[in-house]
Symmetry: C2
Subunit: 347 residues, 2 copies
DNA sequence: CTGAAAGCGCTTACAG
DNA sequence: CTGAAAGCGCTTACAG
């Protein structure tokens, strides 16, 4: 009879119901929750009471549409299977949640296009800020972020030269450092066991760090001494066996592994072969996993505070969202070398 | 001059711009992307072209408000520090993403109230479905889910008796199973090293499983043989030392650990003390972490496909959201006993 | 400090 | 198959 259209609606309690229950306008209800100082205490209490009584949960879509704010942030990581990213997300999640932000999580599985796809889904849903692991993303993604003026940070890797705000550490410097450690122990024949370099700027930088440190010492790592494969205990183990069963000069004395997982695999193979580092050879890792310091032999590695990377990234992003700064500030986290039993003097 | 109000807006390209560029109504643009079959091909192409040219990304808030659909799902887990939950989330994320859903992640740190808080934030943001680890959540949470008719599943734990749809395994049965294994090996003096039971229905069920199996065999685990503490290698190690330095009858021969991490710690302590399972004692874990089958001695444990729990949970939730069923179907994942070197005949 | 009402960017019932 | 326009549930510029 009336010209009214019929619409489904959500069927939920809405702000309007709270307003009429508290006998105030919808504007006032909104203010009570968003700018409480602008409302007199008596009314404030009345409205809160009504909201509680009706069990009102604000509809974020309405809020987002009216205010162009969503209180959502996003993070894109390669995979949760690696505890370093899991810890990073854990730290991030806590800080965001504490600030009233809910976190979208996307995993690219090391496929930049998949990362792009997921980031776009997040943008469509109005994320106010986004964190990306590494710089290895399609230019398109960074362009979209800039076009919409969405603050972002690149995490895990850090470089002074980067055009992006980054929170992490210098992978190249870290591996130059660990190589120097082995060099200072007298090692001259180096081998490397690394995860794939494709789509992974962090691993590429690590290798560059090793090569750079060796070059300074007038050394180098022959191609046949660099084994690349999956970041698994197995690959570490089989690579170690392949390397150490070589004869004479072909056998390395220092094996730099791309991370602790690979190094632990190598150490297991060594134990199985009855070889005990640091006698005759040294092995190093990277990450300092919980188990690395308790394994026999204890693994020489570098410790990174991944959770701190996550909390710092979230804090910087929130500061920009809140308008405290215009751009997230880059922060360098310095990995700490942990010299333990798996590395020692050449002799 | 005009009575118009000034509003900020998002400043972004909107559907309206696409409509006028393609010389069609906004209704048609919307249909092109949501019900393409209802639009003639010529117009469809024209609109898509215009959208592409303008680089339009739909505003999800507008869409959500008008359609009451957000294409967002949520998951609440205790922590990402434990790889079992990380794997579960990894599986879930992939399935959701594939279906056009973006995933909210919340970590409760084993605090039910924190989990409730984060779940409420997700509800406010319109999640269409939610996955929760375990049943240990405030009744309020389940009530809110039911009131809003949001499909949910409880993951990781499984019980036929549960009033909730659950996808996981029977923790009680699994630990009864592992206890039976030790019993069948001739062990009679049992000890346990477990993580805290508070707010963790899974751990409570595990302990119940051990006790139940022992009771059937007319045995029991004395209070002083049950050590409870953090799920760390350290706690596993120190607990082992404490247990195994006891004299005579007070020293257990079978140690059931709450998970692999604790068991690995115990094994490390054993190695340090020069004790080698399964000579004189047996140790079991739970999870079958990557390292467990390669440690020396290889750990007897139970393997759970956590990723499958995640993918199944997401699939069930999506089926409900899509209207294919009214309620997620419970699914039991059966853990597989992996008998290895850390357990053996008593004598 | 408070309210009436326009507007955020979409979808969809209705009409043709 | 297509369009005009109401409506989704909030926020906020404006007026008082």
């Amino acid at each position: 009879m009336t010209g009214k259209r019929t619409r489904e609606g959500s069927g939920r309690v809405k702000l309007e119901a709270v307003a009429s229950a508290a006998k105030v306008s919808t504007a006032t209800v909104s203010r009570v929750f968003n700018e409480p100082d602008k409302v007199s205490e008596a009314i404030r209490e009345r409205v809160k009471e009504a909201a509680r009584a009706l069990n009102w949960i604000p509809n974020a879509a309405g809020r987002a549409l009216a205010s162009s704010r969503t209180h959502i942030a996003g993070a894109i990581i390669p995979t949760l299977d690696n505890e370093i990213f899991a810890h990073q997300i854990g730290g991030m999640q806590a800080v965001f949640s504490n600030a009233g932000f809910t976190l979208f999580l996307g995993c690219s599985n090391y496929d930049p296009l998949e990362g792009l796809r997921q980031a776009e889904a997040m943008l469509a849903r109005g994320v106010e800020a986004i964190a990306l692991v590494g710089e290895n993303h399609p230019e398109e993604l960074f362009a979209a972020l800039k076009a919409r003026d969405i603050p972002y940070v690149v995490t895990y890797s850090y470089s002074k030269l980067s055009e992006h705000p980054c929170i992490g550490f210098d992978n190249r410097a870290a591996f130059a450092r660990i190589t120097d450690h082995l060099l200072s122990l007298g090692h001259r024949r180096f081998a490397g066991i690394f995860q794939p370099v494709a789509n992974n700027d962090r691993v590429a930088a690590r290798l560059a760090g090793v090569r750079e440190a060796l070059a300074v010492a007038d050394r180098q790592m022959p191609d046949e001494n660099l084994l690349i494969g999956p970041s698994t205990l197995e690959f570490g183990a089989e690579s170690f066996s392949r390397l150490m069963t070589r004869e004479g000069e072909a056998r390395p004395t220092a094996i730099v592994c791309g991370n602790d997982n690979i190094a632990l695999g190598a150490l297991m193979a060594a134990n199985a072969l009855g070889l005990k580092a640091p006698t005759g050879f040294s092995i190093t890792g990277f990450d300092d996993l919980a188990i690395s310091s308790r394994f026999t032999p204890r693994l020489t590695t570098m410790k990174v505070d991944n959770q701190a990377i996550g909390t710092l990234a979230a804090s910087e992003l929130l500061a920009v969202v809140a308008g405290h700064k215009t751009r997230p500030q880059s922060k360098e986290i310095v990995p700490v070398l942990q010299v333990r039993d798996s590395s020692g003097p050449l002799a």
